[in-house]
């Protein structure tokens, strides 16, 4: 969860995090070492948000793992392929940047005919 919070500046559900960790470890035996490596880079830079240390992450397995962790939180799956286990749908972060307009499919935020024809500006960003 620590590395996830550093990589993703949003509220993260611990239950989802545990499932991501378990699924990724099963696929990647080097995961804990790589996470330790990423944490070390972050601490070195006194980073509190991802932009403060991500440029220092070297290309290669460390960067790929960092991106994979981000992708897993956003998509709700570790690998977006057939038979993948889905561990988050409503809480998958990919739906959050447009949550003020776009319905999360099958999780209606509206009432009977209650959706608007106006949309907030593109520059807005929901809090999450």
């Amino acid at each position: 969860m620590e590395i996830s919070s550093l990589l993703i500046p949003h509220h993260l559900h611990e239950e989802v995090g545990n499932r991501i960790g378990a699924a990724m470890s099963a696929l990647n035996p080097s995961l804990s070492e790589q996470v330790a490596g990423l944490l070390a880079i972050a601490r070195n830079k006194n980073a509190r948000i991802v932009e403060e240390f991500f440029p220092d992450v070297p290309e290669g397995p460390l960067k790929e793992t960092a991106l994979a962790i981000i992708s897993a939180w956003y998509l709700g799956v570790v690998q977006d392929a057939d038979d993948a286990e889905v561990f988050a749908f409503e809480y998958a972060l990919m739906y959050q940047p447009t949550r003020d307009v776009m319905t999360i499919p099958s999780y209606a935020i509206s009432g009977p005919n209650a959706w608007p024809a106006d949309a907030p500006p593109l520059e807005n960003m929901p809090d999450f």
Binding site: L7, I8, P9, I49, V50, E51, F54, A66, L67, I70, S71, Y74, L75, G76, V77, Q79, D80, A81, D82, D83, A84, V86, F89, A92, M94, Y95, Q96, P97, T98, V101, M102, T103, I104, P105, S106, Y107, A108, I109, S110, G111, P112, N113, A114, W115, P116, A117, D118, A119, L122, M125
Partner: protein, 548 residues
């Protein structure tokens, strides 16, 4: 072989067509037995199946939440490598006949868009007016009251303002039972832009409860998940009809695959035979038989049932069974835009442009329907942004931009009934040793010419109007899942399979209603027309059984 019973009306298929006929027969005091190849399922199960799909399978893989049973195969869209391909497709446009229907009780309305366009009077007279295709054997005036009954039977919401109605030149005998659903921001913007290029984006009549409950089903609350499944049954799907049919005394046997239609005296239908999941055969007798399995499964069954008296297949003295296979060949354009066209608000489809389907040009090339797709593009934007290896605020911003500032525009072309577009029995067999359907499909020059000279330029004009910064046209024609023509209707038994009541010319007590009977494909979604034909057939069935 067990003799499993009998009913006045035996119906193969529990889709919208079968269910509407069943209800009318039951209301007339007739006994009804329905045979469904696939299983009964609960809505919550399909919603869970959907929510547990990886995101890449949640769009366009509309059959993925409906894994088929071995005895009732349909198109598999869950596995990338679809090794056990059920539909055997060939021809220059094989890809355009990759039809996604559902062999579950309730049929393809589980995952339909719910759009309920009526066809126009001109759509029914292509031969007389434009010298192409076929005329229907009756006029719009005959069909209109059945459209009205269909709209009330399934609950269609639509405009009361004639300026917004379709067809534009044909008076409605009754208003829609519910008012239109409101547009979201994307549709509102599209309507304004389209009008500037002569394309009229109308609110679509749709079988979705608008503002109120209807027949015990709740109003739409914008789950934006109409396909693959409405989580709350605000969209009509035939599965909701099944308990009502049972309450009225209808019997429904699931996992019962009809494989043979048996003829007898005077070439009337004596019985149908079905296989259960243990591969045991059962025989069902009746007075009138309805095969309403869609325009692939119905002709397939007719051909498979051939016997000495009907060597070309049941109902096939015309050699038209399985021919004239139609669907609307689809093209789409993926756009990137400078300004947002927000999708994901309200239903996944709530409006269409149809004035582009009508006109004198139809003597030269085909007309078409245009629309924007309104499914939420949040996953599409997220997948694209993640591919760019962005992080933090930049990632969120790009997800929002690519979700809001991209769009898909779709065009669906009217097909012609071409005899060489044909379903035959493949040598390959399914789990029950029933031949798989083999379909040859070529969209034809009438469609290709339209794409080149008319519809693709129109797509570009619409894209320009939206301020598109990039335009990517689909590489080939795709399916629209509106399967039509395989048991074509006509007055002449030599050139058609069924009469104006969808009764087989060859067999006085066999009805083949639905998309298969439609003599023209038109540019719009076929379901309401199929439903109207179902009610017309139901009138004929009830009349026939009451008066002989």
């Amino acid at each position: 072989m067990a003799n499993d019973g009998s009913a006045d009306v035996v119906i193969a298929g529990t889709g919208i067509v079968g269910c509407l006929i069943a209800e009318q027969a039951l209301d007339a005091g007739l006994s009804v037995l329905m045979l469904e190849a696939g299983p009964r399922v609960d809505r919550w199960r399909i919603v869970e199946n959907y929510r547990n799909l990886p995101p890449s399978l949640r769009l366009f893989h509309w059959d993925a939440p409906y894994p088929p049973k071995p005895w009732a195969p349909h198109l598999e869209t869950r596995k990338e490598k679809e090794q056990e391909q059920y539909l055997q497709l060939e021809g220059p446009n094989a890809r355009a006949y990759l039809q996604g229907y559902v062999r579950y009780a309730g049929g393809a309305t589980w995952h339909w868009a719910g759009l309920c366009w009526r066809i126009t009077p001109e759509d029914m007279r292509l031969k007389s007016l434009y010298g192409v295709g076929r005329d229907w054997p009756f006029t719009y005036e005959v069909l209109e009251p059945y459209y009205t009954r269909a709209e009330h039977a399934i609950g269609v919401s639509g405009p009361s303002d004639p300026a917004l109605q379709w067809p534009p030149n044909a008076k409605r005998s009754k208003p829609y039972p519910m008012r239109p659903l409101p547009f979201g921001p994307g549709e509102r913007r599209l309507t304004e832009v389209a009008a500037k290029v002569g394309m009229i984006n109308l609110p679509a009549p749709q079988a979705r409860n608008s503002g109120v409950s209807y027949h015990g089903r709740p109003p739409c609350c914008g789950n934006n998940n109409c396909f693959p499944v409405c989580p709350i049954a605000a969209k009509y799907d035939a599965a909701t009809a099944l308990p009502k049919l049972e309450a009225k005394g209808g019997r429904i046997l699931a996992n019962a695959v009809v494989y043979r239609i048996e003829t007898g005296e005077k070439n009337g239908i004596e019985a149908v035979h079905y296989l259960d999941p243990d591969k045991a055969s059962h025989r069902v007798t009746g007075k009138v038989f309805v095969i309403a399995c869609n325009s692939i499964e119905t002709p397939k069954l007719l051909l498979f049932s051939k016997n000495d008296r009907n060597p070309g297949g049941i109902a096939n003295s015309s050699d038209q069974v399985g021919r004239n296979m139609m669907d609307q060949p689809k093209l789409y354009a993926e756009l990137e835009l400078a300004e947002p066209l927000w999708t994901g608000v309200g239903p996944v489809q709530s409006s269409s442009i149809l004035n582009t389907s009508q006109g004198d040009f139809r003597k030269d090339y085909t007309g078409a329907m245009f629309r924007m797709e309104n499914f939420a593009r949040s996953y599409v934007g997220a997948a694209a942004a993640l591919k760019k290896r962005l992080v933090g605020k930049a990632l969120d911003k790009e997800i929002r931009r690519l979700s809001a500032c991209t769009a898909r525009l779709t065009v669906e072309h009217e097909p012609l009934p071409l005899p060489d577009n044909r379903l035959t029995l493949s040598d390959k067999k399914d789990w029950l040793s029933i031949n798989k359907p083999n379909i040859y499909y070529d969209v034809g020059d009438y469609v290709r010419r339209s794409a080149k000279e008319y519809t693709v330029p129109k797509l570009r004009a619409l894209a320009d109007g939206l301020g598109a910064t990039s335009f990517q046209l689909s590489p080939e024609f795709f399916n629209s899942d509106h399967i039509m023509g395989g048991c074509i209707m006509g007055a002449d038994a030599k050139t058609s399979v069924v009469d104006p009541d969808c009764r087989a010319h060859d067999h006085h007590n066999l009805f083949l209603p639905g998309g298969a009977a439609m003599p023209s494909g038109t540019a719009s979604n076929s379901t309401l027309t199929m439903t109207a034909l179902a009610l017309k057939a139901a009138d004929a069935i009830v009349d026939q059984l009451r008066h002989g």
